[in-house]
C-alpha cells in the first residue's frame, strides 16, 4: 500500500509536470530565487554544498544529466553527450558528443575538454582536490580518440556508472585552461551552459544572462536569473510571499507551505517529493554495550517509525518510512517487505516488547543511561532527536541529549567520543552505490562513524555495484539492507526527508526530484505571464 502511495505521489508529480509542459513555453523574464548558502569557490569538482549548484550550475553543462522531466530523478539523459554505447562486458562506455557546443568564450567544446574535466575529477594532479574521486574508482582510464568521442574504460562492470556521469557536480571545463592552471575554475566561471556569467557580489547575489549561442536551440527560455543569498528561512519565505522571488530550490517546511498557500492561494504552486536526504542514528560499536547487536536492534525496535511519519510530517521536513533507498524509486524495497525488518513492524507495542526482551537478554539494566549526541541544527534534527529520546525512554532507557554546534560536530563524532549520535547523508542522485557507500566498513569508508567492520556487508555492496541486471541487483540490495538495518542494526534509519517547494505559479518547466542538487541548469524553466 505504501509503495503504491509512493508511486502515486511520483506519478502525481509527473502529471503536474506533464500538464505544465503541455503549455507553450514563453521566452523572457528573469527568474529570482533565494539561495540559503553561498559557495566558497566556483569549482564543482571540489565543493559539496548546494550553495554552489543553485547559482553556478546554469553556467555549465555536464556530459550526461538526469532527465529534467523525470520526478524520480534517476534516468540518465543526454546533455553534451548525445548518445552512448556500452560494450558487451560492461567495461567500455563510448559517448558521442554533440557538434556545435561552444564555451562562452566562443571556442568549441570537444572530447579533449571532457577528458580533461574527468581526469581532474578522477585522477586529480597533486595539490588539486576532488571530492568525489572515490565514486569513480572503477574507472581505469579515459580516452578521446576523436573530437566527438569519449571512451571510459572500467576495471569492472558497474551498475551505477552511467548514472554517476549524470552527476550535477561534473562541470565540463576547458582543457586548455586546466592545462595552464588546474585551480583556475575555483575563482573563475567559464562554461558552455545555458547562461553566461554576469556578476557575483559576495554575500549578496549572482546574476546570469541568457547564452544566445546555446547549443539547444530555443533554450533557455529565460532572459536571465538572479540568485540572492539569504540565510534566514523567514526572509526566504517573505521574499516568495512578497513576490520578490519566484522559487527557492532547496525546500520549505510544512508550516511555510501552509502559510504561503493561505496567503497567495492560486498564485502559488506546491511541488513535493520524497527527498534523498535522511538522518540516521550512528552507533559507536567500540563503546559498550553498543558492541552487542541485540542492544542496537533494541534501539531500532523501540522507534515507532509509522506513527512518527504521521505526526512529524506535520511539523518537520520528514515523512516516509525508508530503508536504504528513497521510497518510490527503482531500487527501493516495497513497504510490505520493509515492514518485516526489525524496527519497521507496524505493531509498535509488539516491537517495544521485543526491544525490552533483547535488552534484558543483553544484560542492559532498566534505566540504563547513555548520551545521544545531536547536531545543533533545528530542522529536522531537533524534532527527530526529541522523538527518538522519547521512544527510547519507553523501553526503559535513560537518554541524555548533548547538542554540538554544526561546525564542530563531525570533528567530535570522527574522534569516536560519542556513544550514539545523529548522522546524516544527502545524495545528489538516488543510486544505491551512492546511498549505501556510507555503510561500508570504517577502514574502507572513513565517513562510517559507527566504527565497525563488516566484510559480509562490504561483499554485498561490491556484488550489487558490479551487477548490471536490475532484478538481481535489487535482490542484493535487499540482502544488504537486511543485514545493515535488521541483522546487525549497524545504523538506524529515521524518516526520509520530504521536500516541499512552494513557488510562484508563474514558474513553469521545472520538475521537483528527490535531490535538491538536480534540475538547476534552468534551461527548461520559463515564466508565464
Amino acid at each position: 500500500m505504501k509503495r503504491l502511495a509512493g508511486l502515486l505521489a511520483l506519478a502525481a508529480g509527473a502529471l503536474l509536470t506533464l500538464s505544465a509542459q503541455a503549455q507553450t513555453p514563453r521566452s523572457g523574464g528573469e527568474l529570482v530565487f533565494p539561495v540559503p548558502s553561498e559557495p566558497p569557490s566556483y569549482d564543482g569538482h571540489r565543493e559539496e554544498t548546494f550553495g554552489l549548484i543553485h547559482p553556478i550550475a546554469p553556467f555549465y553543462n555536464t556530459l550526461l544529466r538526469v532527465d529534467p522531466n523525470d520526478p524520480g530523478g534517476t534516468k540518465p539523459y543526454p546533455s553534451i553527450a548525445e548518445s552512448w554505447t556500452v560494450s558487451q562486458d560492461g567495461k567500455t562506455y563510448t559517448f558521442k558528443l554533440r557538434r556545435g557546443v561552444k564555451f562562452h568564450d566562443g571556442s568549441d567544446l570537444t572530447s579533449k575538454d571532457v577528458k580533461a574535466s574527468y581526469d581532474k575529477i578522477i585522477f586529480p594532479p597533486p595539490g588539486v582536490g576532488s571530492t568525489r574521486k572515490g565514486q569513480y574508482a572503477v574507472v581505469e582510464k579515459i580516452e578521446a580518440p576523436d573530437p566527438a568521442t569519449v571512451v571510459f574504460r572500467l576495471k569492472q562492470s558497474s551498475g551505477s556508472f552511467l548514472v554517476g556521469l549524470a552527476s550535477p557536480w561534473n562541470f565540463i571545463y576547458k582543457a586548455d585552461i586546466l592545462a595552464k592552471d588546474p585551480h583556475w575554475y575555483e575563482k573563475n566561471i567559464m562554461g558552455s551552459g545555458p547562461f553566461t556569467f554576469v556578476e557575483h557580489v559576495k554575500g549578496s547575489h549572482v546574476v546570469g544572462k541568457k547564452n544566445p549561442n546555446y547549443w539547444d536551440k530555443g533554450k533557455p527560455y529565460l532572459d536571465g536569473f538572479r540568485a540572492i543569498f539569504m540565510r534566514e528561512s523567514a526572509a526566504q519565505v517573505a521574499a516568495v510571499r512578497g513576490e520578490r522571488a519566484h522559487i527557492q530550490f532547496r525546500g520549505f517546511t510544512p508550516k511555510d507551505r501552509d502559510n504561503l498557500k493561505a496567503a497567495l492561494g492560486d498564485k502559488i504552486t506546491v511541488q513535493e517529493s520524497p527527498w534523498d536526504c535522511i538522518l540516521m542514528v550512528g552507533i559507536n560499536h567500540e563503546k559498550k554495550p553498543f558492541d552487542d547487536k541485540r542492544v542496537r536492534r533494541a534501539l531500532s525496535l523501540a522507534l515507532d517509525r509509522h506513527g512518527a511519519s504521521t505526526a512529524l510530517s506535520q511539523i518537520a521536513i520528514v515523512k516516509a518510512v525508508a530503508g536504504v533507498q528513497v521510497p518510490g524509486t527503482p531500487f527501493a524495497t516495497p513497504p510490505e517487505e520493509l515492514n518485516k525488518l526489525a524496527g519497521y513492524w507496524t505493531d509498535a507495542e509488539k516491537s517495544r516488547a521485543e526491544a525490552k526482551r533483547l535488552l534484558r537478554e543483553a544484560g542492559v539494566p532498566d534505566g540504563f543511561q547513555f548520551t545521544f549526541t545531536n547536531r545543533g541544527i533545528p530542522m529536522p534534527y531537533e524534532p527527530l532527536g526529541v522523538w527518538m529520546i522519547d521512544q527510547w525512554r519507553r523501553i526503559g532507557l535513560n537518554v541524555q541529549q548533548q547538542v554540538i554546534e554544526p561546525a564542530a560536530y563531525f570533528g567530535v563524532i570522527r574522534k569516536g567520543d560519542s556513544q550514539v549520535h545523529m548522522d546524516f547523508q544527502c545524495g545528489y542522485i538516488v543510486e544505491p552505490d551512492l546511498d549505501m557507500y556510507k555503510f561500508l566498513s570504517s577502514d574502507r569508508n572513513p565517513a562510517n562513524y559507527g566504527r565497525y567492520k563488516d566484510p559480509v556487508l562490504d561483499a554485498l555492496y561490491d556484488k550489487q555495484s558490479g551487477e548490471t541486471n536490475v532484478e538481481k541487483r535489487k535482490q542484493l540490495i535487499r540482502q544488504f539492507e537486511k543485514r545493515l538495518l535488521d541483522e546487525e542494526a549497524h545504523y538506524l534509519m529515521t524518516l526520509q526527508w520530504h521536500r516541499i517547494i512552494p513557488h510562484s505559479a508563474k514558474v513553469k518547466g521545472w520538475t521537483i526530484t528527490p535531490s535538491h542538487y538536480l534540475n538547476n541548469t534552468l534551461d527548461t524553466v520559463w515564466l508565464a505571464e
Binding site: G127, E186, I228, E232, A239
Partner: protein, 318 residues
C-alpha cells in the same frame, strides 16, 4: 593636549596586541576547523582524508601554532590581513563589500536615535512628572524591552500582510539609487534606532534633570532668560556629556554587532560576515574582523574623550 593625544595613541598598541593574542588562542581552542566545516558538514558519502590534508597544508593549518601566530602578526603589522580561509579572497575585499552597508546602517540608526533621544529626553526632564514625562518614559522603556530583531520581524510582516510589499533584497549604494537604498535600509535603521534612542532618552532625561537643579540654571531663570535659551545654551552643553559617551559606544557596537537584525532583513553586512566567519572557523577573517571592531572601539573612545575636552573647558588633559 598634544602629549595626551600621543600617549593615548601609543596606549592603543598594547591593547590591540592583547586582543590579537586573545582571539588567536580562543579560535584555536574551539573544536573544528575550516576544512572540517567545508568537507564534513554536507552529508557527503565520500570523505577524502587526502583532500582534507591538501586543504590544511594550503591554508597553513599544518604549521605549529607559534608559526601561524607569527605569520599573522607580521602581516598585521604591515596591515596585510591575508586571505579568507573559506573563499580564498583577500580579507580587505570581503570586508570592503560589507562595510558600506554596515556603516550606513550604523549612521542612520545613530542619527535616528539621537533625533529621538535628545528632544524627548529634554522634554521629559522639563515636563517632569506630567503626562508628557510619563508618555516619554513608557516610550523609552518599550524601546529598551523590545528586541530590535523582533521589531524588525513585525515590521516586515506588517508590510507584507497589510501592504503586500517587502523591502528590496539586494543592497544598492546610496549614490547609485537613493530610493532603492533607503527603501531597504530605513526599516532596520528604524528598528535599531528606536532601541538605541531608548537608552539615550533615559540618559538625557536624568542628565538634564541633574543640570536643571544647578544654581546657575536657577540664576538664569531668575534673571528672566527664555527657557529655550537656558536649555540650549546652558543646560544642554553640560547634560550632553554622558549621553555622548553612551551613544558613541553604541555606534561602535552597531558596526559589527547587528547580527540578528541583518539576518531578519537579509542585509549583507559585517554582522552576518562575523557570524559566518566564526561558524565556518575562518580564522583569518574572524581575527581581522575582531581587530577591526576593537580598533574602531578604541578610536571612538578616544574621539569621545577629546570631544569632552572641547565641550567642557574645565577638562584639561595632560
Amino acid at each position: 593636549m598634544g602629549y595626551y593625544i600621543l600617549k593615548r595613541l601609543l596606549a592603543m598598541i598594547p591593547t590591540l596586541i592583547g586582543v590579537a593574542v586573545l582571539i588567536f588562542i580562543l579560535l584555536r581552542v574551539v573544536p573544528g576547523d575550516v576544512v572540517e566545516a567545508r568537507y564534513l558538514t554536507q552529508g557527503s558519502q565520500f570523505q577524502s582524508q587526502d583532500l582534507m590534508d591538501i586543504e590544511r597544508k594550503k591554508l597553513g593549518l599544518d604549521q605549529p601554532l607559534w608559526k601561524q601566530f607569527t605569520t599573522w602578526m607580521t602581516g598585521l603589522a604591515r596591515l596585510d590581513f591575508g586571505l579568507s580561509m573559506w573563499t580564498g579572497a583577500p580579507i580587505t575585499e570581503e570586508i570592503k563589500l560589507r562595510f558600506a552597508l554596515s556603516l550606513q546602517l550604523a549612521i542612520m540608526a545613530s542619527l535616528l536615535a539621537q533625533l529621538l533621544a535628545i528632544p524627548l529626553g529634554i522634554l521629559a526632564a522639563v515636563k517632569q512628572d506630567t503626562w508628557v514625562d510619563y508618555a516619554v518614559r513608557v516610550f523609552s522603556i518599550a524601546g529598551l524591552a523590545t528586541p530590535s530583531f523582533w521589531l524588525g520581524i513585525v515590521m516586515i510582516l506588517t508590510m507584507l500582510i497589510v501592504f503586500k510589499w517587502v523591502p528590496p533584497m539586494v543592497f544598492t549604494p546610496l549614490w547609485v539609487n537613493p530610493w532603492e537604498n533607503l527603501a531597504q535600509l530605513i526599516w532596520p535603521a528604524l528598528a535599531v534606532g528606536y532601541r538605541y534612542s531608548a537608552v539615550g532618552t533615559r540618559m538625557m532625561r536624568s542628565a538634564m534633570l541633574e543640570v536643571l537643579r544647578e544654581d546657575y540654571i536657577r540664576t538664569a531663570r531668575a534673571k528672566g532668560l527664555w527657557l529655550k535659551l537656558i536649555l540650549v545654551r546652558h543646560a544642554l552643553k553640560n547634560a550632553i556629556l554622558p549621553v555622548l559617551t553612551v551613544m558613541s559606544l553604541e555606534f561602535a557596537f552597531l558596526l559589527g554587532g547587528l547580527v540578528v537584525t541583518e539576518q531578519v532583513f537579509n542585509l549583507n553586512g559585517l554582522g552576518m560576515l562575523f557570524v559566518e566567519a566564526i561558524s565556518r572557523r575562518d580564522y583569518t577573517l574572524t581575527q581581522a574582523l575582531v581587530m577591526l571592531v576593537a580598533t574602531f572601539f578604541l578610536i571612538v573612545n578616544f574621539v569621545v574623550d577629546i570631544a569632552y575636552a572641547w565641550l567642557d573647558p574645565r577638562i584639561r588633559y595632560r
